[in-house]
């Protein structure tokens, strides 16, 4: 079957892609700038076509716990929200990670902290990649930079989630969520009839009972479990790094940027090169696992590296760790919901080149 071409908003693309990926359930709550996802699903009525459950929960907390329950049954379930709502979900997320269950969480980031703004930001990087919730765990984090990737990453997220029995986050932002672009939509996948061996479905006489839990009061057993998670994340680090490079081959300076900032930097690269500055862009697609090895290698030929992100400087720390002191690393980006402009990036790079 062929792909279908449509003009869609990022948020709508997530919703449509979820239906087509054969998702079993969506549990969400309205919050700007992502309420269109829930609205689109309610209007599309997939329960009449694929049988997908769509439910507006009473809170983000309830929604993530519905995802937890559904994931425990081996179903493809997801929730979406924006920064303050994602904070509410942290407890549920660690339970899902601690029980080794698959699911998709989409964060369409807005300015913070607190109630913040409704405009785009990238200030949830720490929350997404360094934990957010308590305990030793990680989410696999995908950062779309286009409406196409908003759509494509839904199916990819479910694939990774089930492959590793881990929650996956799509870390988007208010700009990507709201922008309208062409998107090629995959054909409808059938909802899976396979029941994973670890899922609760009712105990037949042929097996032991299945208990979905993250509790173990025996500290030695819990330590073994923590080690098991470490091993899992190391496998993910080895195998699932994704990134894209733009004009890095002859570059002397490097932008590292994701999401809307990557789009901005693409333009900034063009503007710089028009002035004779040889700069390239490395766009991480996975923020966890982070493309540390690649950035470390690129640092060999760069004079300096800029982390361009709409925050007070979060990903810059991972860039610094990756670069490991080889060259100077700086952060630049607007905050408060303002999208960084390409010429601002150009000016900042020039100031670092001259100023040193």
């Amino acid at each position: 079957m062929e792909k279908e071409l449509r003009l869609m908003k990022g948020n709508e693309a997530v919703a449509e892609a979820a239906i087509r990926a054969g998702a079993d359930g969506y549990f969400g709550y309205p919050i700007t700038p992502q309420s269109e996802i829930l609205e689109y699903l309610m209007e599309a009525k997939p329960w009449e076509t694929t049988g997908m459950v769509v439910l507006q929960a009473e809170s983000e907390v309830a929604a993530i716990n519905m995802v937890y329950g559904g994931a425990g049954c081996g179903k493809k379930v997801m929730t979406t929200s924006s920064s303050p709502g994602i904070s509410l979900k942290q407890e549920g997320i660690t339970y899902i990670a601690g029980a080794e269950l698959p699911c998709l969480i989409v964060n369409v980031v807005r300015g913070g902290p607190g109630l913040g703004t409704i405009q785009p930001a990238q200030s949830d990087y720490f929350q997404a990649t360094k934990g957010g919730g308590h305990g030793d765990y990680h989410l696999i984090v995908l950062a779309p930079a286009s409406v196409q990737e908003m759509a494509d990453f839904v199916d990819l997220s479910f694939e990774l989630a089930f492959k590793y029995r881990n929650p996956v986050m799509i870390l988007s932002d208010g700009a990507i969520g709201q922008m309208v672009e062409k998107v090629w939509l995959s054909p409808q996948k059938e909802r899976s009839k396979t029941v994973p061996s670890w899922a609760t479905t009712g105990k037949p006489s042929t097996r032991e009972r299945i208990i979905i839990t993250s509790l173990d009061l025996d500290p030695y057993a819990q330590e073994r479990f923590n080690q098991k998670l470490i091993d899992k994340y190391n496998v993910i680090r080895e195998n699932e790094v994704r990134f894209e490079e733009f004009q890095c081959d002859d570059a002397e300076y490097l932008f590292v940027a994701y999401g809307i900032s990557a789009r901005v930097c693409q333009k900034a690269v063009q503007l710089c090169r028009a002035e004779g500055i040889k700069v390239g862009l490395l766009r991480p697609i996975t923020l966890f696992p982070f493309p540390s090895k690649r950035i470390n290698k690129l640092a060999d030929k760069m004079k300096l590296i800029l982390s361009i992100e709409m925050s007070a400087g979060q990903m810059v720390e991972d860039v610094m760790l990756s670069v490991n002191g080889k060259v100077p690393v700086y952060h630049f980006g607007r905050m408060g919901g303002i999208v960084t402009a390409p010429d601002e990036v150009v000016e900042f790079l020039k100031s670092k080149i001259i100023g040193g």
Binding site: L55, A62, N65, Y68, G70, T200, S205
Partner: protein, 272 residues
């Protein structure tokens, strides 16, 4: 395994009248002596066995004294975060509508942190059973005040007795959810005497049968004791419960379905 037996001649397989359900695992229950949780678990296990539900049931257990409930009943379980069991149950039932789905929660779980999840699952009329064990205190964490602690009742965080001016009145969750059109069968029972055990078992059997009808949430409150944190012996605690808890939380059906339910008499009705 040491046993104390009565008249040996009577002890023959054909004379068996009562033994613990095989749905109970072999694990020793972690509850304090005389705690109603054990009795409630056993009634639930008997219903699951008699109605042949083991392969079609998913239970959601809480945070509280019964956090390890999954060690005691041999069915599939999901451990919910504190108060969130109705949210998990909502998803499980909607995704697997032909399974029997229930939550088992204490008073902190259901009436404090989980109030929103409780009310909204009932309001949506999720086709699940919510079992609410109410002993007016937080057991697992060491005897703190609960939303259902009685006025004047002492606890580790109300050492001079619950002062309703400062701490509010106890919540009657059962009456509250009964007002919601989404609930189908709402009742309050206890498990401290054989007669009440029989009534609770009857209520649980009804709740399972009603779940098949898909007409809304069934809600069973079990008023129970906490000898350890009430600082009484088990027998004293049951007396205290009768004298103090029951007047405030009266036993009986609060909401019953109006329609007649046509059902084949189940062959285990003689146990009721």
């Amino acid at each position: 395994m040491a046993v104390a037996t009565g008249i040996k001649e009577v002890i023959k397989p054909e004379n068996l009248v009562y033994k613990k359900s095989k749905i109970m695992t072999d694990n020793v229950l972690s509850y304090c002596p005389g705690c109603g949780h054990g009795t409630a678990h056993r009634i639930l296990a008997e219903i699951i066995e008699e109605e042949d539900l083991q392969s079609r049931t998913i239970g959601i257990c809480p945070v509280g004294c019964s956090v390890l409930l999954y060690n005691f009943l041999d069915i599939d379980w999901q451990e919910a975060a504190h108060g969130r069991a109705p949210a998990l149950a909502t998803a499980v039932k909607r995704l697997l509508p032909d399974r029997f789905v229930f939550t088992y929660q204490g008073d902190g779980d259901l009436a404090a942190i989980g109030t929103a999840e409780t009310i909204h699952a009932c309001n949506r009329g999720e086709n699940i059973l919510i079992i609410f064990v109410n002993n007016g205190i937080y057991g697992m964490t060491g005897g703190q005040m609960a939303p259902t602690t009685l006025p004047g009742m002492k606890s580790s965080t109300s050492p001079y007795g619950r002062d309703v001016k400062l701490m509010g009145n106890p919540l009657k969750m059962t009456e509250i959810v009964a007002t919601l059109p989404g609930t189908y069968y709402v009742t309050r029972q206890s498990v401290h005497t054989a007669a009440n055990v029989k009534k609770t078992k009857k209520a649980m059997r009804k709740a399972f049968q009603y779940q098949k009808l898909g007409k809304g949430t069934c809600f069973i409150e079990i008023v129970s004791n906490c000898p350890s944190n009430w600082k009484m012996t088990p027998v004293e605690s049951n007396k205290w419960m009768e004298q103090n808890m029951f007047p405030f939380y009266p036993l009986g059906d609060i909401k019953v379905p109006v329609e007649e339910i046509a059902q084949k008499p189940s062959n285990s009705e003689k146990n009721d």
